[in-house]
């Protein structure tokens, strides 16, 4: 089965692989992966540095439930073999929903428990700065994850220590697991919150590759940077877009066929 027919470095190809893999494995968390597909595609194909097939920068996936997207982009980038990708969720394979240890090439840390990534990213940033490297550290988080207190511990630390090699991206799709964010713990004025912690913050269209590339290429002199990427959960599959239920549901039968059709598979 061909998982994709679009150019590997395109967002469409990434969405095709995400949905194909999810359908094959009968697994959920699809819409979370689709909402961050453009961000991942730009990071791995345009922004981050690679040398001899290995990531030179660091990447931390703090929203581990988006692993479908991560595995898919690693595969498209040639960092994960197809036979490993096909092991996703198979008994005995290392391809769990939430990526674990040992690490995959192109992944420094990921966790299913939300709120863990930013602290790890801060440690990587301190080490990179003290070692006088040019490495940048990218950490992709969810918006609902900002309800975890540990996020703000890391935000304070990075701002205070002026970790300008640190780049956070929030997949701001406005939906958390079982309800809209505004109905649970409102996160309006999110950029202002980060700015008050000593960060440069910028809103960006999380589905516009050009805007993402431009925003990710910026670097502050003495501040960490955060992009609040406005996204649509389930982007690219019409019936999943902005729908709470597709956070968890697996895709089957007529829904699978419809999603494949919409994605050009």
């Amino acid at each position: 089965m061909n998982f994709y027919n679009a150019p590997a470095n395109s967002s469409t190809a990434l969405r095709q692989v995400i949905v194909s893999l999810a359908a094959k494995a009968g697994t959920g968390h699809i819409s979370s992966a689709l909402s961050m597909a453009d961000i991942l595609s730009v990071l791995f194909f345009e922004t981050m540095s690679f040398h001899d097939g290995r990531l030179k920068d660091h990447f931390v996936l703090s929203k581990g439930h988006g692993s479908l997207g991560l595995y898919s982009v690693l595969y498209l980038k040639g960092l994960l073999k197809k036979e490993d990708l096909l092991d996703y969720h198979k008994n005995g394979s290392k391809m769990t929903t939430f990526p674990g240890e040992p690490f995959f090439n192109g992944l420094d840390f990921s966790s299913g428990s939300l709120g863990h990534g930013p602290g790890v990213a801060c440690g990587l940033a301190i080490a990179a700065r003290n070692d006088k490297t040019e490495k940048n550290i990218y950490c992709l988080m969810s918006d609902g994850e900002c309800q975890e207190g540990s996020i703000w511990e890391a935000a304070l630390f990075a701002g205070h220590h002026q970790l300008s090699n640190l780049h956070f991206i929030i997949d701001f799709n406005r939906l958390q697991a079982i309800a809209p964010i505004k109905d649970v713990l409102n996160l309006e004025n999110l950029a202002e919150k980060w700015v008050s912690f000593g960060w440069d913050a910028e809103y960006v269209d999380g589905h516009d590759r050009t805007s993402l590339m431009k925003a990710l290429s910026k670097k502050s002199v003495s501040k960490p940077r955060i992009l609040i990427a406005k996204t649509v959960k389930g982007k690219g599959v019409s019936f999943m877009e902005n729908s709470i239920k597709w956070h968890y549901l697996p895709i089957k039968d007529e829904f699978r066929d419809l999603a494949f059709k919409e994605l050009g598979l």
Partner: protein, 311 residues
């Protein structure tokens, strides 16, 4: 012991530029010289223990050895999931230094007491657990933690009855070590950490009554040389004085070892810290006495259990 802690840390930091020390704003009158001397590598991360363990995870992934310092309740209970993921699961080179074992910070109240942490860390796989009871053991445990890759939990408490020992060569901290007695007594006492000094004094009290007990220190609870320990306790009466509550404590592990391997022993008795929380203020000494784990309490307990004598 505090001097040994700081001096050994300074020695490690001075000899290895890839070693970091993080503190969650604790270490008053102890860590300040290190923070001043190595500002890039010794960082007060603020009152944020979960973030401290996360930062340690990032540093360790970049090839650093990272010591994290705080009071025990905050560096175990407060950030247990971070410890689970960064130390137990990822097996990174992170060394937790927890201070305040047992009732070291007695008058502060039960939020600052540490009586359950041995069980918490024992439940997480792959983390070495060392509990120095003397300045010499402090030095050896810290040096061992630096020498051996992987996660460590260094549990520190200030003893109510400290004693000096010569700086003897301790080849292997996982070996139970005879520290008081002849080595051929019928009765064995095992202890560690802040209870070691009180146990040492209790054995001396018994000596005054012509009662002989051999005291062994278990400076390392994991790994521990079980073969050696099983030989020591074989056919003996065993007392275990443990500065932790019995739930999840090392006495449980010892009992399981004895039963599962059918080790022939005369009896196994133990004193542990109480399982509930003190609701009153009290010094380390006061609360130790309330647990009957001061030298006289231990001595009386052993007179009854080992020698059938009620004082």
């Amino acid at each position: 012991m505090k001097n040994a802690l700081v001096e050994t840390l300074e020695s490690i930091l001075g000899s290895d530029t890839s070693t970091y020390l993080l503190t969650a704003d604790l270490g008053f009158m102890a860590l300040e010289p290190l923070l001043e001397k190595y500002p890039d590598r010794c960082i007060n991360v603020g009152i944020a223990e979960a973030n401290m363990i996360g930062i340690a995870g990032g540093l360790a992934r970049a090839g650093k050895t990272v010591y994290c310092y705080s009071m025990i309740p905050f560096i175990t209970l407060r950030c247990l999931e971070q410890v689970r993921l960064q130390l137990a699961k990822a097996q990174l080179n992170i060394k937790l230094i927890g201070v305040g074992a047992g009732y070291t910070y007695g008058v502060q109240g039960s939020s600052h007491h540490a009586t359950e942490d041995i069980g918490l860390i024992r439940a997480l796989p792959g983390i070495a657990i060392v509990c120095p009871g003397t300045a010499v053991e402090m030095n050896k445990c810290l040096m061992e933690s630096h020498k051996k890759p992987g996660p460590f939990y260094i549990r520190i408490g200030w003893p109510t009855h400290p004693f000096e020992e010569d700086d003897l060569a301790i080849d292997d901290i996982s070996e139970p070590r005879l520290i008081n007695g002849s080595g051929d007594a019928k009765h064995i006492l095992l202890s560690y950490g802040p209870s070691l000094g009180s146990s040492f004094a209790a054995v001396n009290l018994l000596k005054q009554r012509e009662k002989h007990v051999d005291l062994y220190s278990l400076a390392s609870l994991r790994p521990i040389n079980w073969d050696r320990l099983n030989k020591i306790i074989e056919n003996k009466s065993i007392g275990f004085i443990e500065p932790n509550c019995k739930e999840g404590g090392f006495a449980e592990a010892l009992a399981l070892e004895v039963v599962s391997k059918n080790i022939p022993i005369q009896k196994l008795v133990h004193l542990n810290y109480r399982s509930d929380y003190f609701q009153v203020a009290g010094s380390n000494k006061f609360l130790e006495e309330k647990n009957n784990m001061h030298p006289e309490g231990i001595s009386d307990f052993l007179l009854k259990e080992f020698f059938n004598e009620a004082d």
